[in-house]
Symmetry: C2
Subunit: 160 residues, 2 copies
Amino acid sequence: MPGPTAKELEFIDRFGLCFEKLGGTRTMGRIYAWLMICGAQQQSLTELAAALGVSKASISTVIRPMEEAGLALRLPAPGRQHSYRVAPGGVTRMLQVQFARMRLGAEVAEFGLSVLGKDRAAQRERLAEFRDFCEFTADEVGQELLTRWEQYRAKKRRKR
Amino acid sequence: MPGPTAKELEFIDRFGLCFEKLGGTRTMGRIYAWLMICGAQQQSLTELAAALGVSKASISTVIRPMEEAGLALRLPAPGRQHSYRVAPGGVTRMLQVQFARMRLGAEVAEFGLSVLGKDRAAQRERLAEFRDFCEFTADEVGQELLTRWEQYRAKKRRKR
DNA sequence: CTGATCGTTCAGAACTTTCTAAACGTACGC
DNA sequence: GCGTACGTTTAGAAAGTTCTGAACGATCAG
């Protein structure tokens, strides 16, 4: 099982930084990058640690959130070790999770409205709009996004 | 210019935490919350600092990104001080900025493809899909989101 | 049963981010 | 001009995050 080449490692690191900018952690990005480009279909935790030059502890702690976010897949282990690979449609899932978090915003806004007196119309207006927007993204966009992405991909595929 | 009441402060803090979860900083959220609910139409930097119990330096450094993200508006100052208020459609803008960042992901993926040999079809497939998804969100979703949000809001308004 | 291999957990180290206080530059009122 | 009020910048403190090494529990081969 060969580790990444120098060029591949540069890609891995750039991907890690990018992932950081988008709200994840660097290591999560690096793992995801390596899983995308490595020769093998899947990688064990120990292999990941070796390939990325990172402690097993790091991988272990970071990969759980990745599973929950729908980015990585842990396969029923052949042998006793766990195998990880990129989940199909992983990034899509990630965005959906992000959108779902907007519900929290709606809740907080609701609380704010309960705090604010009935007389403060202008402020209530602002808060209500914020709440609606959070609801909108949480409820509508998540699903809509998926179907539109399928369309987009299909169109792109047809061109080839 | 009264500061926030105890209840209002709780809202402000909860909003700050929520903002943190969604990728911003706590202080940004607290500022935004206070701008939404404070009695005055706008607040100077000094007023913000006093109301939130935070140093002026903090506000000053944090509010610039907020302006750039399209969250806060700096008004042509009456007197010599600057006045801030929530930008109309602020959160929408913020999401759009977030989406625009996906372009970086597309670039990195493109670089990855240039690194990967032509023979590694499976890996290239994964990378290409990632790139396409980044492009899709950056190009299409940002605009689409806006129009759909307008529709949603209009519908919501009609109900009242 | 014994030794080897693997993933997990925990305490502490290294690093980053965020905040503050103090010094500074500028504009205004007098 | 001189003092005052305002926002900005910078260096350093405080807090939080992420990583590592070591100890541990579990599983399998022999």
